[in-house]
């Protein structure tokens, strides 16, 4: 009984996060902000559902502990930030429109490059 309640709660929490993430993907103004939706909110949402799944399949008539979900979670948590990072890097390189001021990281990088080049010249 308690397990079923817990499972339902996790499913609902996960679904809510996924919904919020999807709305964000739809409504946010530019690429960089839109990226938050699928990478952060939806990751959380999926993890909620995975926990629910793990709980459900480890209890009741299923006698073995279901460990698949842990692995899925692990890989999800590894891949989501990495792909988000790489996507942003590509967007920065392509100078995709941004509502915020252009981040200074790249500019700093360019400055460092220029400095290196100057030193090489000398």
């Amino acid at each position: 009984m308690i397990i079923e309640l817990l499972v339902s709660a996790f499913i609902l929490i996960g679904a809510t996060f996924a919904l919020i993430g999807s709305i964000g993907l739809l409504r946010l103004p530019d690429f960089y902000t839109r990226l938050h939706g699928p990478t952060k909110a939806t990751t959380l949402g999926i993890s909620g559902m995975l926990i629910a799944s793990g709980l459900y399949f480890s209890t009741g008539s299923h006698d073995a502990t279901s460990l698949h979900e842990i692995l899925v979670l692990l890989f999800l948590f590894i891949t989501a930030p990495v792909s988000a990072h790489l996507l942003v890097k590509a967007a920065l390189h392509r100078r995709v429109y941004s509502v915020a001021k252009r981040p200074q990281v790249l500019a700093r990088g360019q400055r460092a490059q220029a400095a290196v080049k100057e030193r090489e010249h000398r």
């Binding site: 590894i78 930030p81 990072h85 790489l86 890097k89 390189h93 990088g109 030193r119």
Partner: protein, 969 residues
């Protein structure tokens, strides 16, 4: 079976120099390699000598083992007198050449490689003379062509060496093909490929209507190998080889293979007019032509090359006479020529080594610097010229006598002695020129170095050979007679009466010798006029240049025949490939297509029983269609097209899952990932600018081709999937467990039932990897630092987050790979999939952390990995032979223990591990070499970072020429 070791030892021993080099410190490498090679040759020689008593007792030693009985190929060897003569020449002179080469080769040259190829060549040569089966003989024949190609082109940096090697390969290899055709005909006429039976069938061959084509084809093989006119030109071009190679190949071995063939088949073919006119005519022409040209060569080795051609012509002529005594003289001269020509080549090498040049116009007066070498060269040259008391004189005298006693040409009988004497005069002239121009003829001119005597041991081989010249020349009856008798006996089947005496009394042949000696000296005195006349009469041309022009012309012609000479592109090649396939596939179908019953076909299509449609399949199908259309539409955006193509592959793997083919799905998935990554890496090097628009015609052509080919494949798939054919699947399903001990039938098919296919496939994979390795070696490509629009690429090549998060993935992924490998026999998985998974895991590390980073941590030699995998697979496959089972029989042990539970070991697993290693090595090797292409950029970046940390100047040498980017200057 002891006999087979004579041939087998050099082949197996070819590995020994490599092993020896590994074992000793660097400065002893050369000595170790030479010693190993000498050891190999000596052991082969000892085995050969141990058989000689049998032969001397009048017997023949035979050894035979079936190899491919269905085509008449047996591993049959015979050791008779003729074979013994050549075996002793090959091994004896081979030993001396190895000793000589030890001193000749520079320490920087790859000594081990040299001796390994030399031993392979030696083995192939021994195989030719010992073969008792025509097909086996041909096999060794082609092996000599191949190994001599490697020997002549030993210095791959020299364009002349490469050209000479290629020419030798084309000519002798082409002759080998003719020989193959001739042997096949001969075998069918004689009814067997066994040499003994062919030799016995001489009469039948004579009468047969195919006698002429057989003779022509076999002679083509012999003449190309023995450099007979007009195929002689490869020999002078092959003089680009290192001198020990020339001394070996062009005196005792390679060129003597053709002579051996003439001697071997003498009883079968000789005694016909056509044999006399063909062999005798070609031999005589070559004899005269070679001797004449040799006078005018300025390069010592060039002179020796043409003199070799001339002597080979002489020997050919002697065999061409078709008389027993002619054959005796031919065999005798072949032996003598091998001895004195080898020593002359060695002397030429010493001169080149010590004086720094082989040009006789620059050399003179070397006598004062190297009197001993001079004496040795002089004796050898005198033997070559046919001076009395030397071996060359005896055989030449026999040659003169044969020309005199011949009565074939009727009233033109005087012609033969005349030509022979003329050739003799030329021979004396070029021998005198060699000695006089090099060792005398005024004081030494300006040379790069002061010449001096070579190391003591370098001269030893020459001394031995020259001593042989003298011994045979003075005591022929005691030294060479027994050997020659045996050779003649086994060649002819009987022993003709002949006399080896030095003094026959005053006779016409002696007069001819004297005329030749005096005439040659006179001719040399008149050389200035002679040279002028030669230049005036003959424009400077050579067979080699004609060959070059012909082959260039042929290439140009081939290029002109191509429809688009300027568009030699991959797309074009593939279009042609597709077109050819289509034509070949549609041609036989044309009648059926003509009378196609459209209504019936559509009825049939409508009536097909379809499986019910479900949503996932529909979705997957839609994605496939959209992605495929996208690839076509976006073909000019390479990146997008590649990714879409990857989508197709992934959906396909889902389809495999759907139809319960997990092995296929896993393979498809991993292959797709690897190919996409590698393609993306390649894209990086392609121009980033928009791909050029193709012409309307090209687009139409490609469209038509693609549509027709696609329709064809679809129709084929439809037919195959709808027709009920008796399938062998049932057999595999039932046999997998009892016969292969496997529950995974797919894997059992791969590593057991069709293991031979897999072995072939991984071999192809390894060859492809080697090809990629060779092609990309040393290439640096321009790597842009800005994109198409001038935006600089991010300096942060390896983002920290990716690098850090990918590291813990490696052990997990490798674990999965091992798991897949181990369970392959029973569950989906196997070596191929495991190799790809491990490959992807390592690729990820390289991408995330950089090539240098991973190279520092993972010190793997991928070529060796591939080699180890191949050996492992091959070893497992052949291990079955040890238990007298057929190749690739697999074994499995099943045991149940309380400790380990159910345990099953199969030999197929070792085989699969070999597959795993080859796949992994290939993937990594491709990636590694692609990564190296941009070595400059990575290096530059790294250097840049280092400069930022500690400002040290970047060495200019580290910037390769190709990659020098304009913005750096």
């Amino acid at each position: 079976m002891f006999l087979a070791w004579i041939v087998a030892i050099p082949f197996l021993g070819a590995l020994l120099p490599y092993g020896a080099v590994r074992l000793v410190p660097k400065q002893a490498c050369g000595a170790a390699a030479s010693l190993a090679a000498a050891l190999v040759s000596t052991s082969a020689l000892i085995i050969a000598l141990s058989h000689t008593p049998d032969v001397f007792a009048g017997g023949e030693v035979h050894a035979s083992m079936p190899w491919i009985p269905r085509i008449g190929l047996t591993l049959a060897l015979r050791f008779d007198g003729l074979a013994m003569v050549f075996v002793l020449l090959i091994l004896g002179i081979g030993l001396l050449v190895i000793l000589y080469a030890h001193f000749y080769l520079a320490k920087s040259d790859q000594v081990a490689r040299f001796f390994a190829i030399l031993l392979l060549f030696q083995g192939a040569m021994l195989g030719i003379v010992l073969s008792d089966n025509l097909l086996l003989l041909l096999l060794f024949w082609e092996l000599t062509s191949l190994t001599s190609f490697l020997l002549v082109g030993f210095d791959p940096r020299s364009i002349e060496a490469r050209r000479g090697a290629r020419m030798a390969l084309v000519i002798t290899g082409g002759g080998g093909l003719a020989l193959l055709a001739g042997f096949l005909l001969l075998g069918s006429v004689a009814g067997s490929f066994e040499l003994s039976e062919v030799l016995a069938a001489g009469e039948r061959v004579h009468q047969h209507p195919l006698y002429l084509p057989i003779l022509l084809l076999i002679l083509l093989g012999a003449f190309t190998k023995s450099a007979q006119f007009p195929f002689h030109f490869w020999l002078p071009s092959a003089m680009t080889a290192p001198t020990p190679v020339s001394a070996y190949l062009h005196s005792a071995t390679m060129v003597k293979a053709g002579i051996f063939l003439l001697a071997r088949f003498f009883p079968v073919f000789a005694e016909t007019d056509i044999w006399f006119y063909l062999v005798g005519g070609v031999g005589l022409t070559t004899f005269l032509f070679g001797a004449y040209i040799a006078i005018f060569k300025h390069d010592i080795k060039g002179l020796l090359a043409y003199s070799t051609i001339s002597h080979l012509g002489l020997i050919t002529f002697l065999f061409g006479l078709g008389t027993p005594l002619g054959a005796v003289a031919g065999l005798f001269h072949a032996m003598n020529h091998a001895v004195f020509k080898a020593s002359l080549f060695m002397a030429a090498g010493i001169i080149d080594h010590e004086a720094g040049t082989r040009d006789m116009r620059r050399l003179s007066g070397l006598w004062h610097f190297m009197p001993i070498t001079g004496t040795l060269a002089m004796v050898a040259a005198a033997a070559m010229a046919g001076v009395p008391l030397l071996n060359g004189f005896l055989s030449k005298e026999m040659f003169f006598a044969e020309t005199v006693h011949h009565e074939w040409l009727g009233h033109l009988d005087w012609l033969l002695p005349f030509i022979a004497t003329l050739g003799g005069i030329f021979a004396v002239a070029y021998s005198v020129r060699f000695i006089h121009d090099v060792f005398f003829g005024g004081p030494l001119q300006e040379l790069d170095r002061t010449p001096h005597e070579p190391p003591r041991w370098m001269r030893i081989p020459v001394e031995i050979l020259v001593a042989l010249c003298l011994l045979v020349g003075i005591f022929p009856e005691q030294t060479v007679r027994p050997l020659l008798d045996l050779g003649v006996q086994s060649m002819l089947g009987f022993e003709p009466r002949y006399d080896l005496a030095i003094w026959h009394g005053f006779s016409f042949p002696l007069l001819m010798s004297l005329v030749a000696l005096v005439g040659g000296l006179l001719l040399y005195r008149l050389r200035r006029w002679l040279f002028r006349a030669h230049d005036w009469v003959f424009p400077p041309t050579s067979g080699a240049s004609v060959f070059q022009r012909l082959s260039t012309g042929l290439q140009l012609l081939a290029r002109a025949r191509m429809p688009h000479p300027t568009q030699a592109s991959l797309q074009n090649s593939i279009a042609w490939l597709l077109l050819t396939t289509l034509v070949l596939a549609i041609w036989p179908l044309l009648p059926a297509l003509w009378s196609l019953d459209v209504a019936g076909l559509s009825d049939w299509l409508m009536g097909l029983e379809l499986s019910p449609l479900d949503v996932p399949s529909l979705g997957a199908g839609l994605i496939l269609v959209v992605a495929a259309a996208g690839v076509v539409g976006l073909r000019r955006q390479r990146l997008q097209a590649t990714i879409l193509a990857g989508v197709i592959g992934l959906v396909l793997s889902l389809a495999f899952v759907h139809f319960s083919a997990p092995d296929l799905a896993l393979t498809q998935l991993t292959v797709e990932v690897v190919t996409t990554i590698l393609l993306l890496l390649v894209l990086y090097f392609l121009p980033q600018s928009d791909v050029a628009r193709l012409s309307r015609w090209r687009r139409t052509r490609d469209l038509v081709l693609a549509v027709v080919a696609g329709t064809g494949v679809a129709a084929l798939a439809l037919v195959i999937m709808t027709t009920q054919t008796p399938s062998i699947a049932e057999y595999f399903l039932h046999a997998a467990k009892p016969a292969a001990g496997a529950s995974n039938v797919v894997n059992a098919i791969l590593v057991d039932f069709r293991g031979f296919d897999t072995l072939g496939e991984i071999t192809v994979l390894a060859i492809a990897a080697a090809g990629i390795f060779a092609m990309l070696r040393g290439i640096r490509l321009h790597t842009p630092q800005r994109d198409l629009f001038g935006r600089p690429w991010s300096p942060d090549v390896h983002p920290t987050i990716l690098a850090m998060l990918s590291r813990p993935l490696l052990p997990m992924a490798l674990l999965v790979a091992v798991f897949m490998l181990l369970r392959g026999h029973h569950e989906p998985g196997g070596g191929f999939i495991a190799g790809l998974i491990a490959g992807i895991a390592l690729v990820l590390q390289q991408l995330a952390s950089g090539q240098q980073w991973s190279a520092e941590r993972l010190r793997l030699n991928y070529t060796r990995l591939i080699g180890a995998g191949l050996l492992m697979a091959l070893g497992t496959a052949s291990a079955a032979l040890l238990w007298q089972r057929p190749f690739l029989t697999s074994a499995f042990w099943h045991s149940e223990s309380t400790w380990l539970g159910e345990l099953e070991l199969t030999s197929a697993m070792v085989f699969d591990t070999g597959v795993f290693l080859v796949v992994l090595g290939t993937v990594m090797l491709i990636l590694d070499n692609l990564g190296r292409l941009s070595g400059h950029r990575q290096h530059g970046r790294r250097a840049g970072h280092q400069v930022a940390a500690h400002p040290a100047p970047v060495p200019a040498a580290s910037a390769p020429a190709l990659g020098s980017a304009p913005w750096k200057s």
